[in-house]
């Protein structure tokens, strides 16, 4: 366990930024957003960033290849990216948990090389949540905000920031910046952890349980008539999908630049009407079907294929951002039959 005084935190940032890029949450007029650190940049005190940290590994758009067309010939030029090491500071436990979920998709065979490279080059420093918000329900998914994970975990206690490496990568990083840190005892942060757990108990969603969902069969949930009322006022926008740390559906598209064809991939949303539209029809024609797909995927299909792990980490972004305030918590409660609790 190492520590640094909060008023000297810039020394730590400086030491990290000396060798690689450092990103941390910064207050902007669009809430907290990850920005590159440079002298004078101060870290946001917000609980979480507006957009999730998935952008670091899975950017909203990225080029895959370029095609040069000449007569009947096609030349394929795969996109070659130069990847640099970087550090992300201040990732919360929920977002850190989301990386494991994204890994299951992108790092399973066949490996998505773009994602894999970005993942390898990034070192994640997490930060425990001293002041959780009412929208938090990460504990429902087994995330412990007092033990935030990542390559290095950090805790703030009064005017001190405590850091502890969790992985080899984290160990290496802390060794490299050892000059900015001093030794500390693991017991020092126990009160912080205890305090966080007390706060988590007090949250309005602390008792949210998935039992009601787990007890039902996939097909019963799928054919439930409750979906109609839940999805009734859904706008069919992609807000929930795009702010979600675990949503990873993408589209592959071509753009004619005039000098060739650029093939890129971009985030897509199952809430969009053209998500499954084919030349001869669409299998999910109504917003209800699309809405159902999103939540069935997170709460049923994904766990079915991944040893019971849900594709939600309880970060609460969709609760805060949905234009009509329909969200996964309401779905869990309604589908699980606990809407009045």
């Amino acid at each position: 366990m190492l520590k640094v005084s909060v008023d000297k935190i810039n020394d730590l940032f400086r030491a990290i930024a000396a060798t690689q890029k450092l990103y941390l949450p910064v207050d902007t007029n669009a809430g907290a957003q990850y920005r590159e650190w440079s002298e004078g940049v101060t870290m946001s005190q917000a609980l979480n960033t507006n957009r999730s940290a998935k952008d670091f590994f899975f950017p909203q758009t990225e080029n895959l290849a370029e095609f040069k067309m000449e007569g009947k010939k096609i030349e394929v030029k795969p996109q070659v990216n130069e990847y640099e090491d970087y550090v992300v500071f201040g990732v919360r436990a929920c977002d850190a948990a989301s990386f494991a979920i994204l890994d299951r998709v992108f790092l399973s065979e066949p490996v998505d090389t773009f994602y894999a490279h970005r993942r390898e080059h990034g070192t994640i420093i997490t930060l425990a949540c001293n002041r959780p918000a009412e929208t938090c329900f990460c504990t429902t998914f087994g995330v412990d905000p007092a033990v935030p994970g990542g390559d290095v975990s950090a805790w703030q206690k009064g005017e001190e920031l405590y850091l502890e490496a969790q992985t080899e990568k984290g160990e290496k990083l802390l060794q490299a910046v050892a000059g900015a840190l001093s030794q500390a005892e693991s017991e020092d942060i126990e009160p912080v952890k205890a305090a966080i757990r007390v706060m988590m108990e007090k949250l309005p969603l602390a008792k949210l349980s998935l039992k009601g969902i787990e007890d039902q069969k996939m097909l019963d949930l799928f054919y439930s008539d409750k979906w109609n009322a839940l999805s009734e006022s859904c706008l069919g926008c992609g807000t929930c999908t795009f702010v979600c740390p675990t949503c990873q559906c993408y589209d592959v598209r071509d753009f004619d630049t005039g000098n060739g064809i650029q093939r890129f991939r971009c985030w897509d949303s199952c809430m969009y009407s053209d998500f499954t539209k084919m030349a001869h029809g669409n299998i999910r024609n109504s917003q209800m079907e699309r809405f159902r797909q999103r939540f069935m995927h997170k709460l049923v299909y994904f766990p079915e294929n991944n040893e019971g792990i849900y594709s939600c980490v309880g970060c609460g972004r969709c609760l805060a951002k949905c234009p009509i305030h329909m969200n996964i918590v309401k779905v869990i409660k309604t589908m699980g039959g606990t809407e009045n609790e």
Binding site: F255, T257, G258, N259, Q262
Partner: protein, 148 residues
């Protein structure tokens, strides 16, 4: 040794011309052997009001440095009132582009009749000169469409 770039900037101009007046005007300027720069690309449209704001933006995306819309003089529209609507639309669009900080000189509307070959050539020469002075379109370009 470094060779100094002396390449002169030649803007790409897209001119949307209505079929009944301005396109004929362009034709006339040609038959009268009046010169206007070759970098003006004319796109013939049935009426000036056929031009959707999207056309203007797409022209910029695809490399235009200036876009000009030419139609019949107000009151002379082949379809009676088309250019009156175009006039309102373009006014509002140009104002919006200006609001977004895009140089307002890059867009223009001119009324050119079939008999005004000279006006067509003069307008184009003037517009090309303005854009040449203004330089390359940077604020409304699509970086992907730039030639490497």
């Amino acid at each position: 040794m470094q060779v100094e770039e002396t390449k002169e900037f030649k803007p790409t101009i897209v001119a949307f011309c209505c079929n009944w007046c301005s396109y004929a005007g362009a034709d006339l300027s040609g038959t009268n052997r009046l010169n206007y720069p070759a970098n003006v690309k004319i796109i013939r449209v049935p009426c000036s009001c056929r031009v959707n704001p999207m056309f203007i933006l797409r022209a910029f995306q695809r490399g235009a440095d200036g876009v000009i819309l030419c139609g019949c003089h107000p009151g002379d529209c082949h379809y009676t009132t088309g250019n009156y609507y175009a006039r309102r639309r373009m006014t509002l669009l140009f104002s919006m582009l200006d609001f977004l900080g895009i140089e307002k000189e890059r867009t223009r509307v001119e009324w050119v009749s079939a008999a005004e070959g000279a006006k067509f050539a003069a307008t184009m020469n003037d517009f090309v000169a303005t854009i040449t002075k203004l330089g390359e379109n940077r604020r409304l370009e699509d970086i992907r469409c730039k030639k490497q």
